[in-house]
Symmetry: C2
Subunit: 417 residues, 2 copies
Amino acid sequence: MTDSAKLINDMGRNARSAFSRLTGVSDSQKSAALTAAARHLRASQDTIIAANQRDMDSARERGLSDSMLDRLMIDADRLESIASAVDDVAVLPDPVGQLIDRTERPNGLVMERIRVPLGVIGIIYESRPNVTADAAALALRSGNAVILRGGSEAIQSNGAIYDAMVAGVVEAGLPADAIQLVQTTDRAAVGAMLKASGLIDIIIPRGGKSLVKRVQDEARVPVLAHLDGICHTYIAKDADPEKALAIAVNAKMRRTGICGAMETLLIDQDYPAPGPLVRALLEAGCEVRGDDSVLELDERIVSAEAADWDTEYLAPILSVKMVNGADEALAHIASHGSHHTDVIVTEDSEMAERFILRADSAIVMHNASSQFADGGQFGLGAEIGISTGRLHARGPVALEGLTTYKWVVRGTGQTRP
Amino acid sequence: MTDSAKLINDMGRNARSAFSRLTGVSDSQKSAALTAAARHLRASQDTIIAANQRDMDSARERGLSDSMLDRLMIDADRLESIASAVDDVAVLPDPVGQLIDRTERPNGLVMERIRVPLGVIGIIYESRPNVTADAAALALRSGNAVILRGGSEAIQSNGAIYDAMVAGVVEAGLPADAIQLVQTTDRAAVGAMLKASGLIDIIIPRGGKSLVKRVQDEARVPVLAHLDGICHTYIAKDADPEKALAIAVNAKMRRTGICGAMETLLIDQDYPAPGPLVRALLEAGCEVRGDDSVLELDERIVSAEAADWDTEYLAPILSVKMVNGADEALAHIASHGSHHTDVIVTEDSEMAERFILRADSAIVMHNASSQFADGGQFGLGAEIGISTGRLHARGPVALEGLTTYKWVVRGTGQTRP
């Protein structure tokens, strides 16, 4: 066994033992641990900012880009946001113990399904040190033990935030190993986590596409993630032009770098006002890449190449295609989509229901901007990630997605004939 | 690409296309397909029994054991059972389209979760040809496409049953590729199924431990299964002796070869009547392997070895251990159990709740026989398997376990600020 494999093996065993101890812990104790952790985060402001300064200094030496430096940076305001996010999770309802369903059988046996934690969650993330607090809080709130592995560029910041979180956990009488941080920059530790079946129950990668792809390719442990967010908006022939315009501009331009941003606009060939729609996007500063029929709408539109239909730009660039009816829109989405979020804009409710039924996406929207694809916007209180997988949890994943269930059978001495 | 990989690739693409067409199919059409399939099974009695005879002849030539031959054999009665099981699935409630939950946000957006089929299910099974009809029926009832790969010893029987099933599917106007059968005995086809990520969404192995282990080790596609059923029954000090005796004998001896059969009996050292309990088991024909304290109870008891605590006998053999309280019972189960079904027998309801909370098993029972671990007994109408995994579906898995959900967001033109 290599050093990394041994490290992860030991951490995994400690996590399982902590998970087992967490099973007996009350809702209020988990909540108190997070409130205490938030307090320790605020009390450790100087330590955390000083640790972050060391990370920032090495990052500048290594020539990291300004946007990377911005994602890494922690000041007093950002630390307060981190701490108050932990406070927010502390007051979310605890999903553990919730009764999912209950049936009584003719022989008097009562079958219940109740929510229980998933077990041990591995989080592999890059840059933003807030994930250390954020992911640990969500995992612990739902009764799971967690093994965190952040990016090497944030190792000092993550360590300082982690110390504050653990102080809260211990203060509330929970096992310290409920939250563990992999404190080595050896990349082999990530490989060991991905192969730790039986010790880690699920891996959640948080970061860029190359990280997610590596995790999905190498993992032997189940992965909860999305690789791409190639979100489509289909403007049907009966769309309200005002709604269509507002939704399209918002879905593309509100923030272009998030996974719920629209990347392809499908306009029905019978939609009466394609020109104003495309011009509003151009005027909002969006580059528009169109097929031949779209090119005719405005001379600023450039010609789309085949690869455009499969590209997640995460930038003010949009591919636009004219389609003949909802079926052609659905066929395009089936070929080029990423099962993340797809939208229909129409006043024809029958067509909307058909689109909702047929679109094979984690999130299907009618007359709304795809930028709502976010756990907070869904009312989930927080979000550990968005899943485009089909199993276990889909779309925005929050506390409930970090639980599973057990069957409880209540009898009075029944034996099976 | 090898021939097998190409075969599975083609079947996978056809299955995905059939799955997409199934999305628009109504409940009554799926139900009609199964009713028609059951009718075709009955009408094909001569063909199916003749095909089965050819399998039986080759199996005898190859020297298969009597129990294997019995599992393979189809006569008129067994075919009628197969057909009526398909009829039963036809009338089960369709989970697809069911509303899981619904919330309205302050901005007027309505967030719904509705059940949708999983997608393409791969079933890999051995011997019993009824699985061809059974698994296909459950997969189709829940709107999934299915790729079936049975054992080589049943290839003629499976082919004949499959033909009847497809005839029903086509008669009801559903795509023929909704059900496909791998009609080659090349074992590489199994390997290709296990690696068909993106084409097959989940693999369900049905068969012996070596099959399940191979599938779990090699699969890159998620697997729904259980490897072992090392089920425990803990007789607490406050157990009712009459219930304890009836439950223990039933849990072990009703049928010894099923995964819900008890394999280890844990008796509290303060339970007042261990002697009658163990003697009832001995007298029912069970071999008892005990630890030192158990050995004193009866001279017919043999000494348990370390391996006994980790053994799924699937035979009239039982390991019996004296434990000091529920915590020691739980610790033993945590070390030696398989997260399948574990039982506490006690009249102390506080202790029962604590055991239910702490036992990390897919099914936890209080005062009932572990032999109830079966989808039919749980009122699920049927069962595609029992899962000891933690993700997606646990315990008995029926139609609901073959579904996932999608988020539907209903708006009136909302954009995100």
